[in-house]
Amino acid sequence: MTVRAGDALPPLRVPITRTLIVAGALASRDYQDVHHDAEAAKEKGSPDIFMNILTTNGLVGRYVTDHFGPRARLRKVAIRLGAPNYPGDEMVLRGEVTSVADGAVEVAVTGANGIGNHVTGTVTVRLPDADAPRTDVPAASSAGPAVSAAPAEDPR
């Protein structure tokens, strides 16, 4: 897989359901009522429940690793939230490679919903070919075949 600055990742459409918002909040151990209780959210000035930042973070990470494959390792995820993700909306994640250096790829990610940009951020991911000498990856992957082929064949 040859990665170049300017490469675009295919967009990922994420329907923002109540189920996703609540499941994401609970999976991240976040019991703030604004992420599961619509009445409480209204009391606090929000029109409805909204997605928590940990879920957004998880979705952004998944978006990038879905593209680069299971042997790519996230090194850094930095996100800023804007328009909240309310139920019934849809978020479209898009990414563009902004730099490639020593096996580390930096991707600029945006997630737009019906109101505006829910998230803007930067993700740094290390591709497996640069990981060969590392000891912190599972043995199976460091012993694998030519590492550069793995992510490109990922059918997703």
Partner: protein, 337 residues
């Protein structure tokens, strides 16, 4: 701290609003006091409530739709913060947050900033977390912004930086910014809900000098057409002159009420408050030869067919604006499903 941004940028959407009226001296004193928390410890040697474990990893992957085979052998790196969360029960009292952190949040609550929303999260992952790892963490209050006006309300951005360790290894760093704010009251979000739709009144006919005869007919349960007295052409809808010969002279003719569906559409979108989609709207050709747009009743919306025989009926509508009657067309018995 380095990297401090104009905190107002993080406000969802809109431009900053003019500041609210406050005693400037009092505001200054509060800002100074809040600022003094910068550099203080927010969490001292906190301990993750659970060791890194496969069930929590699996629940996370299910929620995120993440099917990567890399998990659960390692935890998704973006779970970093999840391992530090107190959950529903919270961390045991006094075990995690320092008094400085509680004091800062107490001051903000007292200043009316009772709501909280996260705006930024910056994480670096230095070592993968694996099932069985026990995480410990420390956090420092990096910065407290001056009071900012945002689309959500007026408040303060607080940035903390957390180091997450497993034994002596630094597993990751987590910089987190929240807005602690006094919520602005706002009107509820409008949403096209089916329950709301049922309560909304239907639009009323616009009755004017040209068509009042038609509506008088409807009130008397008669479907009246116009017939040009110059050329005998029937017409509908009601108009002041004949479309064929231009004559302004006309008389009424009562329609039999029988006809067929000439064409139809099914409305799905956009929703209109008084109607619950999907529903069929027909173009009915009367046996007299004129066509009318009207509702088709007595048949599911997806069973309406071109050529289907229909018969006039009057639909009585009772809603928030009172009652009225409308001519609609019912699929006749032999065609009804």
């Amino acid at each position: 701290m380095t990297g401090e941004r104009t905190a107002g940028e993080a406000a969802p959407g809109e431009p900053p609003k003019p500041p609210e009226r406050r005693d400037p001296q009092e505001q200054h004193r509060l800002d100074e006091r809040l600022k003094s928390f910068e550099g203080r410890t927010a969490v001292a040697d906190g301990e993750g409530r659970d060791p890194v474990n496969e069930p929590m990893i699996r629940h996370w992957c299910e929620a995120m739709g993440d099917t990567s085979p890399a998990y659960p052998e390692i935890a998704p790196p973006t779970m970093l913060q999840a391992w530090t969360m107190g959950g529903l029960a919270g961390h045991p009292v006094g075990s995690t947050r320092t008094s400085a952190y509680d004091e800062l949040f107490g001051l903000l609550d007292d200043a009316g900033c009772t709501s909280i929303v996260a705006t930024d999260c910056e994480q670096e992952y230095l070592r993968p977390l694996r099932p069985g790892d026990r995480v410990r963490f420390d956090a420092v209050i990096e910065s407290v912004s001056p009071r900012k006006n945002t689309a959500l309300g007026s408040g303060y951005f607080i940035t903390t930086r957390m180091d997450i360790r497993v034994g002596t290894d630094l597993a990751g760093t987590h910089r987190f910014r929240v807005l602690k704010y006094a919520p602005t009251r706002r009107s509820p979000r409008p949403e096209p809900s089916p329950t709301g739709a049922a309560k909304a009144a239907r639009p009323r006919p616009v009755v004017n000098r040209d068509n009042e005869g038609f509506w008088e007919g409807v009130a008397a349960h008669r479907l009246l057409l116009q017939r040009c007295t110059g050329c005998d052409t029937l017409r509908f809808p009601w108009l002041p002159g004949c479309g064929r010969c231009g004559s302004p002279e006309w008389e009424t003719a009562e329609a039999s009420g029988r006809g067929t569906v000439f064409s139809h559409v099914v409305m799905h979108h956009p929703p209109f408050p008084a109607f619950e989609p999907p529903y069929a709207v027909g173009l009915v050709e009367l046996v007299e030869g004129v066509r009318m747009v009207s509702g088709i009743t007595g048949v599911p919306y997806d069973k309406v067919r071109i050529g289907m025989p229909v018969e006039l009926e009057f639909l009585r509508v009772e809603d928030a604006k009172g009652s009225m009657e409308l001519p609609v067309f019912r699929a006749t018995a032999e065609e009804a499903v």
